[in-house]
């Protein structure tokens, strides 16, 4: 089967330094929501996952982190690729998933269905990694919260209209809630649970 060999190629070439550089991008973006960072690393996960999301997966996932995949990703060669390069297992149980991956064009699952953490351990929640079309050109949204001096703005293409509602729901459960890593091409933008997302007033 052609799928089988796909799993063995396309990992990090320099695992130590590439993982460090992708992590620093994620850390800076998580600390400064709305800031766009670059995760341009030459990894090649099986389609339909894009390179940057693959790089995020290899940076953060291992055998301690069950991963949830959308139906299209679960049907691709990705489970084998993740198992080979990261040692991460795939789970159907959204509550058990530490990370969830959503490819471009797939329906964004309701973040409320994933692990939210508990009031005592709010860190035990899922992090969603979602590929979208672009961070500009869509409906303008404003971002406020920790990490943002006054206000940030972005206009994502490829997120559902429900997104603002999902975020409001997520914010209500603070300190519980899921954190979001958005990817468009090689660019990364993070929305931790603390970030308040509003539709920009015209």
């Amino acid at each position: 089967m052609p799928h089988d060999t796909l799993a063995f190629t396309g990992g990090f070439r320099e695992p130590v330094f590439e993982a460090q550089s992708v992590f620093r991008t994620l850390m800076d973006c998580m600390a400064r929501p709305g800031t766009v960072g670059s995760a341009a690393v030459a990894v090649a996960p099986p389609a339909p996952l894009c390179a940057a999301v693959g790089a995020v997966a290899l940076t953060l996932c291992d055998n301690d982190t069950p991963v949830w995949l959308t139906p299209a990703l679960a049907a691709s060669a990705l489970p084998g690729w993740l198992a080979f390069h990261a040692g991460a297992s795939v789970t159907d149980d959204r509550q058990a998933a530490r990370f969830a991956f959503v490819e471009k064009g797939a329906m964004l699952p309701d973040p409320g269905l994933f692990a939210q953490g508990t009031q005592e351990y709010p860190d035990r929640s899922t992090t969603l990694v979602v590929e979208i079309e672009a961070f500009t050109g869509g409906r303008p949204l404003t971002l406020t919260g920790p990490g943002i001096r006054t206000e940030e703005e972005f206009a994502p293409v490829g997120l559902p209209d429900m997104f603002v509602y999902f975020r409001a729901e997520n914010r209500q459960n603070f300190p519980r809630g899921v954190d979001l890593i958005l990817v468009a091409g090689d660019a990364v933008l993070c929305l931790p649970r603390t970030t308040v997302v509003r539709v920009k007033e015209a």
């Binding site: 460090q20 992590f23 850390m27 998580m30 600390a31 920790p146 300190p175 931790p192 603390t194």
Partner: protein, 294 residues
Amino acid sequence: MTTADLATYNFAYLDEQTKRMIRRAILKAIAIPGYQVPFASREMPMPYGWGTGGVQVTAAILGPKDVLKVIDQGADDTTNAVSIRAFFQKVANVAVTTKTRAATIIQTRHRIPEEKLTSGQTLVYQVPIPEPLRFLEPRETETRKMHALEEYGLMHVKLYEDIARNGHIATTYAYPVKVEGRYVMDPSPTPKFDNPKMHMSEALQLFGAGREKRIYAVPPYTEVVSLDFEDHPFEIQTFDKPCALCGAQDVYLDEVVLDDRGGRMFVCSDTDHCEQRCASGHRGHLAHDKEAAE
């Protein structure tokens, strides 16, 4: 440096799985400002209490492009700072500096540099006891519940008892703060003089407690408010004299005993800040003695 001179460890000492575990904890810590994320702290080649938490956080975020500064009570040249700096030179071959401005990562034990930190910088604190409620309630199950329920009355009682006994809040270091209106956090044993610098800081602040196995964070532009009362507002220490070497005012000073006849001087705790000021011509009243001695 040839590769033969490098220690035969992974870059920055920690193995990759440990780094991933710490990195995941850091991302969650940033997402929940002030909340203590448990992590599987490793044994480091130095004893607990020497900054193993800060060292593990630094090792997990450090890259070849970073410039590292390490301070111990504000000073670059004291034992803890020198040995941790040497450690990272050996295991990561990282560029080091004593200049606050030039550093991308500053690992600190109990001071925040006097110079304002900027957005490209990360401040890593070494934390001995991360739980601000620990001396009031020894049981982890209970303190965790108190954080979960946002039940911080006990902390206010403690500050109130300070006032009842001493007439003022006598806590001068590890002064509790509330982060973004939610979690009460121990800012590590920094003098309360430094608390206002944490508020709306441009730099990311990460806290690592190795023995207690906790990581927490304050993102940039985050509200950090020192707990107080309306009639006893939070105040920082003031000094009646300027620094004896550089004449700086409004900085944190260390007392240095000069002889056994009661002679003493007050100098900047932040050695880099003091040197920069001396280099640009500022002089305190004992600066001439220092020059003569050199």
